[in-house]
Amino acid sequence: MSSEEVAAGAEIKAVPIRHPGRWIAAAVIAVLAAMLVHSFVTNDNFGWSYFSQYGFTAPILHGVAITLELTAAAMAIGIAGGVVLAIMRLSPNPMLSSVSWVYVWLFRGTPVLVQILLWYNLSYLYPHLSLGIPFGPTFVTADTNDVISALTAGILALGLNEAAYMAEIVRAGILSVDAGQSEAAAALGMTRGLVMRRIVLPQSMRVIIPPTGNETISMLKTSALVSTIAVAELLQQTQGIINRTYATVPLLLMASLWYLAMTSILTVGQYYLERHYRRGSGFSGPDQTLPGRLWHAIRYIRPGNEQAALLSTGSEHQR
C-alpha cells in the first residue's frame, strides 16, 4: 500500500492466507460421501421400497403422534417439576431443600428404563390407590392398573425423571442472576416469592432456555424406551410392522429418518429461541459449519445488505 493510498483512506487489499488443508479435507470427504451414496443406490439390502410402502401408513403416523405427545407431556411435567424442585432446593427451609436434594439424587441416580418399568408395574407394590385421611378412613379407591395406563406410566416415568435434570438446569439459571437484583427488589419491599417470580426467574431464562431445548430433543429420542411397556409410539409401531415383514433394518432406518426429521424441526426452533434469549448479552459467534454459513448467507444477502452478510459469515477471503 502506498502512502498516498493510506492517506486517502483506501481499504486494505491483502493477499489472503491459503488453506490447503480445507481443500484436502473437502476431497477426502467428497470421495467418502460418493462411496456412501453409491452403496445406498446399489445395495438392495437397504430395502428402500419399505420406506415408501410403510413410511406414511396409519400405524406409523399414529406412532409419530404418540411420540410427540409423550415428548410434550413429559417435558411439561419435567419443566414444571424442575422449577418447583429448583426453588425448593434454594429455599431457606431445610426440609424443602433436603426433599429436593433427595429427589434429584434418586431420580438421576437410577436408569430411566428401570423407572419406566417400575411405574408400569406399580400395581405390584400398590394394587389399589385410595384418597382419604392418612391412617384413617378412605373416600375413593381405584385399581392402580385402571388409573395408570401404559401411556400414563410412560409419561410419568419420563416426566418425573426429566424433572430431576430440569431442576439442576433451573437452579443454575437462578444462581446466574446477579445477587444485586434480589437485593434491590428486597429493598423495594418485595417478598421472596415476588422477587423470584418477577425479577429472578425472568432473567434466568437466558441461561435456562438453551439446555431446555437440548433436553427436549433428547426426550424425543428417549421416549423410544417406552416401547418396552408396549406404548404405541413410533418405535413400537415400527416393531409391529417388523414382526410381520421381517424387514428389520430397512424399517429401523425408516423410523430413524422420522426421528431425525422431528429433531431437525426442534433444532431450528431451538436456534430461534436461543437467539431470542441471547439478545443483548454479548458474543454470538457465527456458525462455521457449511449449512450454517449457507443458511446465514441466504438469510442476509438481500439488495444493499451483501456487506453485512459477508462480514458476519467472515468468509469473504476464502473464495
Binding site: Q181, A187, L188, G189
Partner: protein, 255 residues
Amino acid sequence: MSDTPMVRAVGVRKRFGVNEVLKGIHLEVGHGEVMCVIGPSGSGKSTLLRCINHLEKINAGRLEVDGELVGYAERNGKLHELHDRVVARKRAEIGMVFQHFNLFPHMTVLGNIIEAPCRVKGVPRDQAVAKARSLLAQVGLEGREESYPRQLSGGQQQRVAIARALAMEPKLMLFDEPTSALDPELVGEVLAVMRDLAKSGMTMLVVTHEMGFAREVGDKLVFMDEGVVVEAGAPRDVIATPQHERTRAFLSKVL
C-alpha cells in the same frame, strides 16, 4: 413524635464469621436531616446502611428507624424476629440506591419504577404510571419511559434508580456510594438530583466519597474507620478542623 430520630443506632455490632465489621456504632439521624458517611473502604459504611433496612442482621446493639426496632419486635423485654412479610413491609418505607444501580434489565424504565408500587403497595397501574412520569421529570429523564436500562448511560441509570426508590414514597433514603461506579463527567447529574431531594426535606443517609457534596448538602458528616465512628459533626468543621489523626490522614488523601 418528631423528637424521635429517623435513625438511631446504639452500640450496633455486626460480624461476618469471625470478622467484626461494625464494632459498636452510635449515631442519630433526625427527620429531614442529610447525613453523609465517609471513610476508607472496609470501614463498614455500606454494611451499616444494609443493616438499616435489614438486608443484614445485626449481632448486638439496638437499631431503630422512626422509633421502631429494625428486624425485631420487642414484647415483654424480649426480642422476637419479624416475619419476612413484616420485614418486607418495613423495607418498603425505606428507599435504597446502590453503587451499581441494580435496575431490572428485563423491564423498561417505566416497568422498573412502577413494579414495586403496583405489586407491593397495590397502587392502581394508571396512578403509578402518572407518578412515575412526574418522578422521571423530577430526575430529568422525561420521555425515557420505554427505554431499557442498558440503553442508558450510568448517570441516567442511577437517576432512574433514584426515581424507582422514590416511587415508594419512602420516609428515609439510603445511598450506597451512588456515584462511585460512574464516569467522572456523569457524577454531577446524579449529585444534582440528590441535592434537590435534600432540599425537598427528604431524610437521607449517604455513603459517599464526594467531599464537595458532603460539605454543601450534608447536615452532619460522619467519619468511620475499622467499624467505629471516629468523628462526627458539622461537615465544615470535620473537613476544616478534624480532631482525630485518622480523620486527618483520610481527608488528606481524598481532598
